[in-house]
């Protein structure tokens, strides 16, 4: 196992206790913990350089602007692109809304289709429902194959020139399944549709070279990759960003404002109305610095080995059903499961008494839950700071849950 154990010391929260037990944090698919370097970078910004960006000639304003823009450069470099193609947003959800309102609303009309997959997070469903409502377009879904991957075998039946947008996840936050990025981006291009990649789970857990993916847009969040909440990124192909309208208007995003009309600032600033989350951008930059220093290849190797170990250990627990691919080359580290007739909320409560944090519920993917015909799952998700002993504690606690509920 690629051992990143020493990194745990960089995360202050990992040394705390919960209910008298050492914290076992297995909810990184919801949000990740933050290393000291991220916290320090944000504090240092407020202690030394706090000012508004892109306005004012004083020293602090210049420093704040430099810090903000250098964070953009770092985050862009992390996914292999230029800072001119990366807009900061509030997160993945906001980035997808930007595409929906800034591109979808202006390019769709009645009878057009938006192609999604059934494993999407609500963030990649609801914005398109809104666009469909306003334009008369309709949503079409691809189902899953037997191994929880997106079934692209029937793609030809739904793909035609009325499809204008293909939007899909790179990695399911429920099943951990990787999305068929290559197939769907090519399918979109073949009918002149744009492809949108929800990379909220993908960028934190894989080596992403965005220019090589073949998609038109990509969205991801800082807080799922060791950075703060409240910031994320929207990447787009240069020509797509140019043709996209701003979804929000205000200060910062303009060139000239007249009484009745305005012109926009150049990309990416035209998508950043109002004072941005500056400290958060600085923290985001520090987070990608941290991940780059560890090396994403090491992160991937570590997650694969701990996920394989978890799948192996969990399969030993009687009555436990895993919802997701068993092959670690087809998946990430989010492992959803059910345990007999014990409801996932009850599992989460019992695990919490042992200091173990897992997510229970529909994971903001209710259509997927309906499709799988389950009301909810419990989900353990892993990141670079998790160690195999934590998997052992999870398994031990699941046995305890079986005992409390009288499963034999």
């Amino acid at each position: 196992m690629s051992d990143l154990r020493a990194l745990r010391a960089d995360f202050p929260i990992l040394s705390r206790e919960v209910n008298g037990k050492p914290l076992v944090y297995l909810d990184s698919a919801a949000t990740t913990q933050k290393p000291q370097s991220v916290l320090d970078a944000m504090n240092s910004y407020y202690e030394n350089s706090n000012a508004n960006v892109h306005r004012g000639a004083h020293t602090l304003a210049v420093e704040a602007t430099d810090l903000y823009e250098s964070a953009r450069t770092k985050v862009a470099a992390f996914i292999g692109t230029s800072p001119s193609q990366l807009a900061f947003t509030r997160g993945t959800t906001t980035a997808i809304n930007h595409i929906a309102y800034g591109w979808g609303l202006h390019h769709l009309s009645e009878g057009d289709k938006i192609l999604l997959t059934i494993m999407e997070h609500h963030a990649n469903i609801v914005p398109w429902q809104l666009v469909a409502k306003y334009t008369g377009a309709e949503l079409v879904y691809l189902d899953l194959d037997d191994d929880f991957g997106v079934d692209t075998s029937e793609l030809d039946k739904v793909l035609d020139e009325r499809v204008k947008i293909v939007s899909f996840s790179g990695m399911s936050n429920v099943t951990g399944a990787l999305g068929p990025i290559d197939v769907l981006s090519k399918a979109a291009a073949s009918v002149g549709a744009i492809s949108v990649l929800d990379a909220a789970q993908l960028v934190p857990h894989t080596n992403v070279d965005v220019e090589a993916l073949g998609v038109d847009f990509l969205a991801f969040s800082s807080h799922k990759m060791l950075g703060p909440t409240g910031i994320g990124a929207l990447w787009g192909r240069a020509d797509r960003l140019e043709e996209m309208e701003p979804a929000e208007g205000g200060g910062e995003m303009i060139n000239v404002v007249e009484r009745h009309a305005s012109t926009w600032a150049p990309v990416p600033h035209k998508f950043e109305a109002g004072t941005p989350p500056i400290a958060e951008a600085v923290g985001f930059g520090a987070a990608v610095d941290y991940l780059s220093a560890v090396g994403m290849d090491n992160v991937v190797a570590h997650e694969r080995s701990i996920t394989a170990y978890a799948l192996d250990r969990l399969s030993e627990v009687p009555d436990l059903t895993i919802y997701g691919p068993k092959d670690v080359s087809k998946r990430g580290g989010a492992v959803s499961f059910e345990l007999g007739d014990i409801h996932p909320h009850d599992i989460a409560t019992i695990l919490d008494q042992d200091g173990i944090a897992v997510r229970a519920g529909h994971h903001c993917a209710r259509p997927l839950m309906k499709y799988l015909e389950i009301p909810a799952t419990a989900r353990a998700s892993f990141y670079l700071y998790n160690v195999p002993e934590e998997v052992d504690l999870l398994v031990e606690s699941l046995h305890k849950a079986r005992g409390i509920f009288g499963l034999v």
């Binding site: 409801h343 209710r366 839950m369 009288g406």
Partner: protein, 150 residues
């Protein structure tokens, strides 16, 4: 683990696995639906109220042991009772889910207000995030009773 023992009492697991009055009513009745959007728990309630008395009731639901057991126990507690007594019971249930430990919320003076099995849900108070689970059936009941009042 004392907390977990108090939370998952045998009577709760029994109601969870064998919910009382599961199903729907046909004919005249009021219907209310409750859900907790954050967790997906659902509770559907049919009530037949005649002359101020709940004469029949049926429930369908899905969710955690606490939400479903609370609903099942509620069914046992309300059928055959007057709406006034049920309102009283609901008030006592709310108090039980919020009062400090040690106080006895149960008032034996009014026959309709005895919590009975429902007292098993006292353990939920130690798990504040789960109180909304126990409340789901009762907020659904309030909706249903509102309909009978109008």
């Amino acid at each position: 683990m004392a907390g977990l023992d108090e939370l998952y009492r045998e009577v709760i697991l029994d109601h969870y696995r064998n919910p009382r009055r599961k199903g729907t009513l046909s004919g005249d009745h009021v219907h209310a639906e409750g859900n907790n959007p954050s967790c997906g728990d659902e509770f559907f309630l049919d009530l037949l109220v005649e002359d101020g008395v709940v004469v029949d009731a049926a429930m369908l639901g899905q969710g955690c042991s606490i939400s479903q057991a609370s609903g099942s126990m509620m069914m046992d507690a309300i059928v055959g009772q007057s709406v006034d007594d049920i309102q009283d019971l609901a008030g006592k249930f709310r108090i039980m889910m919020t009062i400090d430990e040690g106080e006895n919320p149960v008032d034996e003076e009014r026959p309709g207000s005895v919590l009975g099995d429902l007292e098993a849900l006292q353990g939920v108070r130690k798990f504040p995030v789960r109180i909304k689970c126990a409340d789901l059936a009762w907020t659904t009941l309030a909706q249903a009773l509102d309909q009978t009042a109008s």
